[in-house]
Every structure is written in structure tokens, then in C-alpha cells.
């Protein structure tokens, strides 16, 4: 779990340094932590002999987080819907839902062995908020 905490801290630092709002920074950090936890717990099944690989990048237009495990692989299409009434009282199954809720893009890639998860948060251009409303006189 130390590695998960380190990943979380690094993601938080990068997200906040990129100028995200407090809420977005929190959500991005949470999504990355969830991905790291999934990699350790479900992917690598807590096997200390297996590692996770993490890459964090600010491309200028996006924050890109790549988390990979060395497990059996995951088919995201088989994941149950945690919002379905029959699943609400389940103790697990909300991690990927939260990741998808907080990130703009979420991509899965099978590594054989392992799964690689890419999380992308689009960064707003600096001049977007100051753009005049179309049709309004300046």
C-alpha cells in the first residue's frame, strides 16, 4: 500500500500544479488512487512479487496517468453496474465507476499478462474562461 500512497501523492501534486480546481484536483487524485489500488489488489492480487508500473505526464493539453499491473487481465465489459439496484449493497465494485466519473477518458489495454489503464484529464486552455460570449458587444 505504500506504493499506492506514493502514486496518490504524485498525482495530487501534478494535478494541483496543473491548475485544476480544488474539486477537480481531488477527483483526479482519487481516480488515480483507485486505479493504483485496483492494480495492487485485483490485478496483482496483493502478490509482493508482482509490481505495478505508473507513468504520470502533463502534456500541456492533458494530464495522462498510466497504471499497469502484472495480473491475469481484466475485461471491463464484464464489470457489474454498481448503480444497479441489485448491486447497491455490494461491498465492492465501485472503483472503476469512480474512475470513469472523474476522468475525461479511460482506456484499458491487455498486456498479456496484466492490464494497463490510461486515465486522461483534459486541461482547459488558459484563455477559455476569458473568451467573450458569441453575439455580445465588447
Amino acid at each position: 500500500m505504500e506504493s499506492v500512497n506514493e502514486v496518490e501523492a504524485a498525482a495530487n501534486k501534478m494535478a494541483c500544479a496543473a491548475g485544476l480546481s480544488e474539486d477537480d484536483c481531488f477527483h483526479v487524485t482519487m481516480a488515480v488512487r483507485e486505479a493504483a489500488v485496483n492494480a495492487v489488489l485485483h490485478g496483482n492480487e496483493y502478490d509482493p512479487a508482482r509490481q505495478i508500473a505508473v507513468n504520470l505526464e502533463n502534456t500541456g493539453s492533458d494530464l495522462v496517468f498510466v497504471i499497469a499491473d502484472q495480473g491475469k487481465g481484466l475485461d471491463p465489459t464484464t464489470l457489474p453496474d454498481p448503480l444497479a439496484p441489485e448491486n447497491l449493497l455490494r461491498g465492492t465494485g465501485r472503483g472503476i465507476f469512480l474512475i470513469r466519473s472523474f476522468m475525461d477518458e479511460v482506456n484499458f489495454r491487455q498486456l498479456h499478462p496484466g492490464t494497463e489503464l490510461t486515465l486522461i484529464k483534459h486541461l482547459k486552455p488558459a484563455d477559455e474562461t476569458s473568451s467573450p460570449t458569441p453575439g455580445m458587444a465588447s
Binding site: 500500500m1 482519487m30 489500488v37 454498481p82 447497491l88 449493497l89 465492492t92 472503483g95 465507476f97 469512480l98
Partner: protein, 114 residues
């Protein structure tokens, strides 16, 4: 910051004052043990004061749900008090807000167990 739990009783209701983070690992296990301990002692009314919980991950949410179902299966009630905005938003997003009885003030929460 790890999870700290302080226990007290008010009008027959066990109140657990939680502080810190409820996440996979130590925090979620502590919470699970504390609730199971109360239920094992026959406690039927449990109130989780979440006012100082600044972070909960999906495992922590799962632990809350498991605690709720464990309590319910044992004929006990488990309710939540003083959610922070972030925790409130997470429960809304995951529709868990429809599962729990949630209160903003302790007096109302305690009275609801009668």
C-alpha cells in the same frame, strides 16, 4: 492521516466519532472491527459521526455498505451523521445516499433510533 475512532454512548446509541481517512487497508479494517465489536456486544443502534472524515475511497464506501448490511442482518441499525461535502457528493454519485439514513445534527440522529 490514518483513521481514528472514538466511541461514546448517548441515550443507548453507540456513537463512533470517526476522524481521518477511510481507505483500503488500515482504516477500513479498523472501522469494520469497531462495528463488529459493537454488534457482538449486542448493540442495536450505531451512529457513525463522519464530520471529520476528509477522504473515503471505494473500499471505504464498500466498508460502510458492509457495516450497514451486517448491522441490518443482526437486527441493528446503522446511520450516518454530518457528512462532509466531499463524502456527501460521493454517496450521491454512487447512489448510496438512498441506502443510508443520514443526519446533519446529532440530536435528530439519536432521536431517530427511538
Amino acid at each position: 492521516m490514518a483513521l481514528t475512532i472514538a466511541s461514546r454512548e448517548v441515550d443507548g446509541v453507540s456513537v463512533l466519532d470517526l476522524s481521518g481517512r477511510i481507505t483500503l487497508g488500515e482504516g477500513s479494517v479498523q472501522l469494520r472491527d469497531a462495528i463488529r465489536d459493537l454488534i457482538g456486544k449486542g448493540q442495536k443502534s450505531i451512529l457513525l459521526n463522519m464530520g471529520d472524515i476528509n477522504y473515503i475511497d471505494s473500499s471505504g464506501l464498500g466498508e460502510l455498505v458492509s457495516a450497514y448490511t451486517t448491522a441490518r442482518n443482526q437486527g441493528a441499525g446503522l446511520k450516518l451523521l454530518k457528512l462532509t461535502q466531499k463524502v456527501h457528493d460521493l454517496l450521491q454519485l454512487t447512489k448510496l445516499y438512498t441506502v443510508f439514513d443520514i443526519f446533519d445534527d446529532e440530536a435528530s440522529a439519536i432521536a431517530s433510533f427511538r
